[in-house]
């Protein structure tokens, strides 16, 4: 089969605009999956993805389609993650395609991630097919949305496919557009092997699976291959396609997307974006590769039971087999004992990992508030990076501190502009641009410290815009900031795990607010608990959780001894998620109270 009957494409969309349901309809239509097996959003295979309705890992599926022109085509759908935390995976997936469906909700119009993803695709010179989804909704306004696509993204939307994945409208039209508008892959089977690694993951049956886009040449079981960046060589065990279950085949050729297994034990041996070639006949121009993604958000995770430390280590080891983007390093805290500092691609990524650790590995964890990586230049010229407030050097040693900043895009209806700008300013944002994309909607472009987005930003944005603002960002280097470490003391003991780094001007109200929040979540105990917020030796706020005064005990006779013991055991178990610091029981919520700090009035 020649390349001319192959189409490689992705689907890109803002979250909730219907990417996965469109994929489901395409799969159904081409009957890649038995009707009975068809579950909604079949590409999202992790439970958590399914529950949250988002895709985390790139997935791929091969569809066979007999088009109206009478020819049969192989359509490789390379799914992309739908969240800003996983932008890097989107760009990787796009690199394996010649075109993409740009799905836009016909009622909501273009949103922040629509733009971010579309720009990425345009940068990679992909052909975009606009698909207006949910046209069955009474509020759908296809003409307005087409105009937005043309104005903002700058592509022709006149021929946009009108679809409703829910009502199964437009599915065939989408397939026809893919065949007609997306170019067949170029590439030469006769040339030396050149295949790009799109993704890889650990499968309990197959071992490490490598997803490849073959650019030139072909790949068969038994071939000797080389990873060009590491120069490591392997013998290929098997190649095949996803249908969506992995199905072995004899060969995968130039233009195709498929998988390879090669007795690879550790996913960390694989560099995404690396080129796979034939060591005896290497390709002349390897694929340029991708920048290695680095975690930007960190938090400490500690087992509630200190005995579970080793289990947590094992769980992290296993998880990183599947997700090489997380990093973890042992750390210890006076308050929380032994645990790990874990690095994530973003807040959602953090939540997902936390949930998986608790659910799949049955661990009870206490997490500290997320932080970013600060770069500190000391007076002696030394530059250090810290991902834990506890690691902040003494202020007298510090020359200056820099923090990561982001370039943020917010799209929103005009009536919320005032509120959202106020929020952005309170989060130390500076405006770069503001423009109207239609009579009623605007784009705000701001520079913000990443740390400000990590702390309860999404919820706030949602509430000031009633959910109508969409948000996207990209990392934009480092900037100096007047930052200080805010400490919390309980009964005069500093609780290291509650320290946060804040802007000098926010220290006072954040300190006061945090002390108040802690007062709410630390329940009354037998003793008074003094809560103080301090920067260095300066106490900024203090408050007290008053002890309760009475809880008169029950009577106790022969039969009550066992009952009382059981009650004591039960009460003790109920405190499992509490950490005890200087005889103060601190509930898990306390460590996250910092996330709920207000924006200072």
């Amino acid at each position: 089969m020649g390349n001319e009957n192959i189409r490689n494409f992705s689907i890109i969309a803002h979250i909730d605009h219907g990417k996965s349901t469109i994929a489901d309809r395409l799969i159904e239509f081409t009957a890649a999956v038995d009707k009975r097996q068809m579950r909604d959003q079949i590409l999202d295979s992790m439970d958590i993805e399914r529950e949250r309705g988002i895709t985390v890992k790139a997935q791929t599926i091969r569809l066979n389609y007999k088009a109206d022109d009478g020819n049969s085509y192989v359509l490789n759908l390379i799914d992309t993650p739908g969240h800003v935390d996983f932008t890097y995976e989107v760009s990787r997936s796009l690199a394996a395609c010649e075109g993409a469906l740009l799905v836009v909700d016909a009622a909501q119009g273009v949103e922040a991630q629509t733009i971010a993803n579309a720009y990425m695709a345009v940068d990679q010179e992909l052909d975009l097919i606009p698909v207006l989804n949910k046209i069955d909704l009474p509020s759908a306004d296809p003409d307005k949305v087409k105009a937005e696509i043309e104005d903002i993204i700058g592509i022709d939307a006149a021929d946009a496919v009108l679809a409703s994945a829910k009502e199964n409208i437009g599915t065939k039209e989408i397939l026809e557009a893919i065949v007609k508008k997306i170019p067949a892959p170029v590439g030469d089977v006769a040339k030396p092997l050149k295949a790009m690694i799109v993704d890889s993951w650990y499968d309990s049956y197959l071992g490490v699976v490598v997803l490849l886009r073959v650019i030139d040449g072909e790949l068969k079981a038994g071939d000797k291959i080389q990873f060009m960046s590491s120069k490591a060589e392997r013998i290929v065990d098997a190649v095949g396609y996803f249908t969506p279950k992995p199905a072995k085949s004899d060969v995968i050729r130039a233009g195709e997307v498929g998988f390879m297994t090669a007795s690879i034990k550790d996913i960390r041996e694989i560099d995404i974006g690396d080129t796979v070639t034939n060591p005896r006949k290497p390709t002349e121009i390897p694929f340029p590769g991708f920048k290695k993604v680095k975690p930007v958000v960190f938090c400490g995770m500690y087992p509630v039971e200190s005995g579970d430390y080793e289990d947590l280590r094992d769980a992290l080891e296993k998880l990183s087999l599947n997700d090489s983007s997380i990093t973890y390093e042992a750390e210890s805290s006076a308050a929380l004992g032994f645990g790990f500092r874990i690095g994530f691609l973003g807040l959602l990524h953090m939540e997902i990992i936390q949930e998986r650790l608790e659910r799949e590995f049955d661990l009870d964890l206490v997490s500290t508030a997320p932080t970013v990586v600060y770069r500190i230049t000391k007076r002696n010229g030394e530059v250090i990076e810290i991902d834990n407030p506890a690691g902040m050097p003494d202020p007298t040693e510090i020359d200056f501190i820099e923090e990561p900043v982001i370039a943020a895009t917010v799209i929103l209806p005009e009536e919320y502009i005032g509120g959202v700008i106020q929020l952005l300013i309170s989060r130390r944002g500076t405006q770069r641009n503001i423009k109207f994309i239609s009579k009623t909607r605007a784009i705000l472009e701001y520079t913000l410290p990443l740390a400000e987005v990590v702390m309860d930003f999404y919820d706030k944005l949602k509430s000031v815009s009633r959910g109508y603002a969409s948000f996207d960002y990209e990392m934009d280097g480092y900037a100096r900031g007047e930052l200080v470490k805010l400490d919390i003391l309980l009964n005069k003991d500093k609780v290291d795990a509650l320290s946060i780094i804040v802007h000098k001007d926010q220290a006072f109200y954040k300190g006061r607010d945090l002390a108040d929040k802690l007062k709410d979540v630390i329940h009354r105990q037998m003793f008074d608990i003094a809560i103080q917020a301090a920067v260095g030796n300066k106490i900024l706020a203090r408050t007290t959780v008053k002890a309760f005064r009475k809880n008169v005990t029950a009577k106790c006779y022969g039969g009550d001894i066992t009952r009382k013991r059981k009650l004591l055991e039960k009460q003790k178990a109920g405190k499992k998620r509490m950490k005890n610091v200087g005889n103060v029981e601190i509930p898990q919520e306390a460590f996250l109270a910092v996330l709920k700090l207000g924006d200072g009035k």
Partner: protein
């Protein structure tokens, strides 16, 4: 020291707040029940006890004839020279016939469940006696059993009951001049009154002050006595001494080297009769948990916990509590008196939390 407890699980009516096991419709099983209790007894290793306690349920509510036949057989099995023997009664069934049983068998204590002297409170609690029954029966007990010490039970902190009402009960009880008073803060052993608004702060301190003013010494968190009239049998519970409990829902405690085991009988009269020697539940506690148990129960006793004895028996295990005990002492909830660790008045008010706090540092 060891005690013998016999549970008489029959009541005429079930009081809403009561968490003890008793049946209201099983009086026809009384005779067979007592037979079963004796069978239960015959399976016990111990043949001699220092104290006896016939409790319930309502021991005074069963036929005095059957009761005395039972006691006769019981005494011929274990003797009758107890240092203390107690029987419980309720005012409505405290008859002359019952009192003659008390006298004949030489009970040294009679414990009467009054709970309140207010008619409407008695109704609220589900009691089937009236205010006057209390005075009348106390008087006849004094007359017919002059050598028997009297204990009266009362409950305070009953949800929705005014403080003045419970203080009146206290006054009435003191006026009867019993040797011993058990004053319990209402506890939610059942769901009863769970959602009622408490109308005032706990009267714990006020109750304590009034009874002390009337010449009663507080020796346990809920128990007061004139000097020399403390209940030895009950002290055995708080000190976790050995006891055998006979009858349905009764528990037995046996100490051994390194721990103790509690065993409980089934809470069902008929099931108990079928197999009186079987245990429905076993609760074994060893090592530092056994130690903790002694510590938390011992703190109920105002005389405190004797650390020299604990040290002797548990050694270094005791150190686990050092930091927390120190904290409680510095907060004024516990205090040291020589080798004894005692609860203070501030600590008494928070005994549950003190116990919890100590228990929580167990591994």
């Amino acid at each position: 020291m060891s005690g013998l407890y016999v549970h008489v699980p029959f009541c005429k009516n079930k009081c809403g707040y009561c968490g003890f096991y008793s049946a209201t419709d099983a009086y026809d099983l009384t005779e067979r029940y007592f037979d079963a209790v004796l069978k239960d007894l015959s399976a016990r290793k111990r043949k001699k006890y220092e104290t006896l306690y016939i409790g319930g349920g309502t021991p005074s509510s069963v036929s005095p004839v059957l009761l005395s036949v039972f006691l006769d057989r019981l005494f011929s099995a274990v003797g009758s020279d107890f240092t203390e023997s107690t029987i419980e009664a309720n005012p409505e069934s405290l008859t002359a016939d019952f009192l003659s049983v008390v006298k004949d068998f030489g009970f040294s204590r009679l414990s009467v469940g009054c709970q309140s002297t207010d008619e409407s409170v008695l109704k609220l609690l589900g009691r089937i006696h009236g205010r006057n029954d209390i005075f009348r029966t106390a008087e006849s007990a004094r007359r017919l059993c002059p050598d028997t010490a009297l204990n009266l039970d009362m409950i305070f902190d009953i949800p929705s009951v005014e403080n003045s009402v419970q203080m009146k009960t206290l006054e009435d009880i003191v006026s009867i001049s019993p040797e011993h008073v058990s004053a319990y803060s209402y506890s939610f052993d059942t769901e009863y009154l769970k959602n009622a608004e408490p109308c005032c702060e706990s009267a714990f301190i006020e109750v304590k002050r009034s009874l002390e003013a009337a010449g009663y010494l507080k020796y346990e968190i809920s128990n007061f006595a004139r000097k020399g009239y403390e209940s030895r049998h009950n002290i055995g519970y708080w000190m976790l001494n050995d006891y055998d409990g006979l009858g349905s829902a009764a528990w037995s405690l046996e100490n051994y080297d390194g721990g103790r085991v509690l065993r409980g009988k089934v809470s069902d009269v008929a099931a108990y009769i079928t197999d009186p020697t079987a245990y429905a539940e076993t609760d074994r506690t060893e090592g530092v948990h056994a130690l903790a148990q002694e510590l938390v129960f011992g703190l109920r006793m105002l005389d405190g916990v004797d650390f020299s004895s604990l040290k002797y028996r548990y050694g270094d295990m005791l150190n686990i509590f050092n930091e927390r005990i120190e904290k409680l002492v510095s907060e004024g909830m516990l205090t040291w008196q020589m080798e004894k660790l005692k609860i203070t008045e501030k600590g008494e008010l928070l005994l549950d939390s003190v116990q919890e706090f100590l228990w929580d540092c167990l591994p």
